[in-house]
């Protein structure tokens, strides 16, 4: 999956392209948003089937993304 633009910017204005961010953003979009046919979202997580009348999974993707970046920076130092 690739996007034209994935930018994380901090105070220094750096730009990073990260597969992890792409996946997190994809999760945020496909799991949280989009057309819903009432009662027909059927997903399974860790072998437990979950049926959501209105699927409302909230992923704080930015915070997770920042954690990924922090770990990467720590490893690089």
């Amino acid at each position: 999956m690739s996007f034209e633009q994935i930018i994380v910017s901090g105070g220094s204005g750096e730009q990073l392209e990260e597969a992890e961010l792409s996946l997190l953003e994809t999760l945020d979009h496909v799991l949280n948003r989009g057309l819903v046919i009432a009662g027909e979202i059927t997903i399974s997580v860790a072998d437990i089937d979950l049926i959501f009348l209105g699927l409302n999974v909230m992923l704080s993707s930015v915070e997770t993304a920042q954690e990924v970046l922090r770990k990467r920076q720590a490893q690089a130092e």
């Binding site: 999956m1 996007f3 034209e4 633009q5 994935i6 930018i7 994380v8 910017s9 901090g10 105070g11 204005g13 961010l21 792409s22 996946l23 953003e25 994809t26 999760l27 945020d28 979009h29 496909v30 799991l31 949280n32 948003r33 989009g34 057309l35 819903v36 046919i37 009432a38 027909e40 979202i41 059927t42 997903i43 399974s44 997580v45 089937d49 979950l50 049926i51 699927l55 909230m58 704080s60 993707s61 930015v62 915070e63 993304a65 920042q66």
Partner: protein, 238 residues
């Protein structure tokens, strides 16, 4: 055998080439007169939330986005063909109107982090308060911090809206900021104005260096695909 549903498109749109559906299934077009749906057969009773499946769902929708603007379904939509046809028949007018509304546009996602301590009132008496008082004081500080965070989120949202107004057709804003993520917003942008959109976003980033931006896109209009809320509002059903 159920159908896994990816997105809805205007009738006459062709099937994208070289794209695999969830579980490696063949993607096909369920054609109607004016609306069509991209679907694939799905043998299981539930769709596992795996990296591969999520990316395949997104890839199918994204491949359509290359040529037209689809209305994407949420991951995990499994229905019979009869259920799907009933849904489209029942919601036909709303679906058609929504497709027209997003026509020629893509979604850009902007998330903003402000890494700041949100508890505004200093805890001066920690260690000297009685347990019950300490608990109430902590709760009060949390409430004040939450209010400050919401106020700041509102200010940033208004500022960003002002920066992007001339290039954004529609905006969706998250109402539940977490500690650091103060704003999650989706912009509906006309395709031929994307370059200008990026220019304005870059200018905004330079204006507020204390804010951390995560900008992604272009996406299919996932955040603008909800027709049910509009119908409920329109007909006064709570």
């Amino acid at each position: 055998m159920k159908l896994y549903v990816y997105c809805l498109v205007e009738g006459g749109v062709g099937l994208p080439r070289d794209v695999q559906g969830v579980g490696g299934a063949t993607v096909r077009l369920l054609s109607g007169e004016t609306l069509s749906l991209l679907v694939s057969d799905f043998a299981l009773d539930a769709v596992p939330v795996s990296r591969e499946n999520v990316l395949q769902h997104a890839a199918v929708v994204q491949s359509v986005l290359a040529s037209t603007t689809p209305l994407p379904f949420r991951f995990g939509t499994l229905v019979t063909e009869q259920q799907l046809r009933s849904y489209v028949d029942a919601k036909y007018e709303a679906l058609k109107a929504k497709l027209e509304q997003v026509s020629g546009c893509v979604e850009m996602s902007v998330k903003i982090i402000l890494d700041r301590e949100w508890i505004e009132e200093p805890a001066t008496n920690i260690g000297h308060e009685k347990p019950g008082t300490a608990f109430l004081s902590e709760k009060r500080r949390e409430l004040l911090g939450g209010e400050a965070r919401l106020e700041e989120a509102k200010r940033v949202a208004e500022w960003l809206e002002g920066q992007m107004r001339e290039v954004v057709r529609e905006i969706q804003i998250s109402k539940n900021p977490t500690d650091k993520l103060i704003l999650a917003t989706a912009h509906l942008v006309e395709r031929d104005r994307l370059k200008y959109y990026r220019t304005l976003i870059n200018e905004a980033r330079q204006q507020r260096p204390e804010l951390h931006f995560l900008v992604s896109g272009p996406w299919a209009p996932y955040s603008f695909a909800n027709i049910d809320l509009e119908f409920k509002t329109q007909f006064g059903v709570s």
